[in-house]
């Protein structure tokens, strides 16, 4: 057989539609996941053991199980548990947000820890009230430190979002697979799909190392 990437061009509208779904899903889950992750990272440091335990259990569960299993659980079990129908998009958003929240809470937790003891000493020596210590000194530094890892979490989520194709959501991967099956041209179609993912993810991973260097330079004081 001859390889002809030209045939993929005929499906560019469909692939674009799939890509938009992938990007929309990623964006929504990144935003929700960051908020959730931030709240959970604070809950992990709570004085209440129940809050601490529940948040830890959540994080360990979502980091310790395959995302595909989480996705299946949310798609097939959550509607039964809740007794309501959930749209595919809602289910996908719930699943990927919970995943993003779990890995992002670890990012925030690590960056909170990385704000050194000396910074707290300085706060006390300046007599700063507890609230100011947290909002003006600790949190801003923690957030700046978290940025590179947050970016790479976004890349991870972008890649993981391809799993929703397995539960029938029409994202880039799903549409690519359909075209591949219908045209019997897996090499051309699947390669182009992979290249599209690559073209988006690769610059982001480069940005991660660039941002990381800048953050480290700025906080090296």
């Amino acid at each position: 057989m001859t390889i002809d990437f030209g045939i993929v061009l005929g499906f560019k509208a469909a692939l674009l539609q799939g890509l938009l779904m992938t990007l929309k899903l990623t964006l929504v889950c990144v935003l929700l996941g960051c908020v959730l992750g931030f709240v959970v990272s604070l809950a992990r440091g709570s004085r209440n053991w129940l809050v601490r335990g529940v948040s830890r259990g959540y994080v360990e569960f979502f980091r310790g199980t395959p995302v595909i299993v989480q996705l299946f659980w949310i798609f097939f079990c959550l509607p039964l548990v809740l007794g309501v129908e959930l749209s595919n998009f809602t289910s996908a958003v719930i699943a990927l947000t919970l995943y993003m929240g779990a890995i992002t809470s670890e990012t925030f937790r690590a960056s909170l820890k990385s704000v050194g003891r000396e910074q707290l000493d300085a706060c006390i020596a300046l007599g700063l009230p507890r609230w100011t210590q947290i909002t003006s000194v600790i949190l801003p530094q923690a957030v700046i430190r978290a940025v590179p890892t947050l970016l790479s979490n976004c890349v991870s989520l972008f890649k993981e979002s391809a799993l929703v194709s397995a539960v029938g959501m029409a994202d880039l991967m799903f549409i690519g697979q359909n075209i591949s099956n219908n045209t019997a041209r897996p090499i051309e179609v699947l390669t182009i799909v992979a290249v599209i993912y690559f073209v988006i993810a690769f610059p982001l991973t480069r940005a991660v190392s660039h941002v990381e260097r800048r953050v480290l330079a700025k906080l090296a004081a």
Partner: protein, 281 residues
């Protein structure tokens, strides 16, 4: 520029008052009274073993001694950064810190703590804030001073320390000497009645030490009471009105700089001084 911090720093570089000037005040109440301070890290490491120090107003106390002898710990306790096992500290006639024993938290009067400023070895500037913001954070948040007033005072202070052009720079853009001068200015923004300097030149390149020591001398010229931990014996001799030699968690020798640094009475002090100056030569 009639704000308090600039007034305090009013006339520059007066020669440092002689120790004699301080003896005339000896009748005054002590500014600091440290009594029977005990502090350990875990059951094994006892850092302070019943340390007593009195400091009169206007005194500049330099604390010297071997590493692990408790110098820095003393300063950190003074700043209220460490729990203590036994003992008490009063400041300006008011009870300030006292141990409650039985593993209960050390009692610290935070209102008194606000009258003390501290500068650390590693600058500890807030890296995400520019220099001006570093200076005005505490006055605005602690005393509710307006941003405008605090900024004015800060700019005056920075200008006096030769950092006028750096107000909008970030800490990462400054040299070590500049950072340390900013850290001193930041502490002065709260008009402290006592300044603590914990090995503030130890992390600096040798050529940057002088600019920081000069700023401290400038403060000394205005009779700012201070407690200084340093390894720099020349600086100690130049700035101290009194020198305390600390070793093994207690005060071994306490006297004017000529005595402790020049002709120590105690054998342990003599050994230490001999060794330090031997290495120097």
């Amino acid at each position: 520029m009639t704000t308090s911090a600039t007034l305090q720093l009013g006339n520059t570089m007066k020669s440092v008052a002689s120790p004699l000037a301080d003896t005339t005040r000896s009748a005054a109440l002590p500014l600091v009274k440290v009594a029977g301070l005990h502090k350990s890290y875990g059951p094994q490491i006892q850092v302070l073993k019943g340390l007593d120090i009195e400091m009169k107003p206007g005194e500049r106390l330099v604390v010297i001694g071997p590493s692990g002898g408790g110098k820095s710990t003393l300063l950190r306790v003074m700043m209220g950064l460490e729990e203590i096992d036994k003992g008490a500290i009063s400041f300006d006639g008011k009870p300030y810190i006292s141990a409650r024993g039985d593993g209960r938290k050390t009692q610290i009067d935070t209102a008194v703590r606000r009258e003390i400023g501290m500068v650390f070895q590693h600058y500890t500037l807030f890296p995400h804030l520019n220099i001006l913001e570093n200076l005005i954070l505490a006055p605005c948040k602690v005393r509710g001073e307006s941003r405008k007033d605090a900024s004015e005072r800060a700019e005056g202070l920075l200008a006096r320390f030769g950092l006028g052009a750096k107000a909008r720079a970030y800490p990462s853009q400054l040299s070590g000497g500049q950072k340390q001068r900013v850290a001193i200015a930041r502490a002065l923004m709260l008009d402290p009645k006592l300044m603590l300097f914990d090995e503030v030149t130890s992390a600096l390149d040798p050529e940057l030490v002088a600019e920081v020591e000069q700023v401290i001398m400038q403060l000394a010229g205005q009779n700012m009471p201070m407690m200084i931990v340093t390894h720099d014996m020349w600086f100690a001799r130049n700035i101290a009105s009194r020198v305390v030699f600390c070793a093994g968690g207690v005060v071994v020798e306490d006297g004017p700089p000529e005595q402790v640094l020049g002709a120590p009475v105690q054998e342990r002090t003599r050994e230490f001084i001999d060794r330090v100056f031997h290495i120097r030569q």
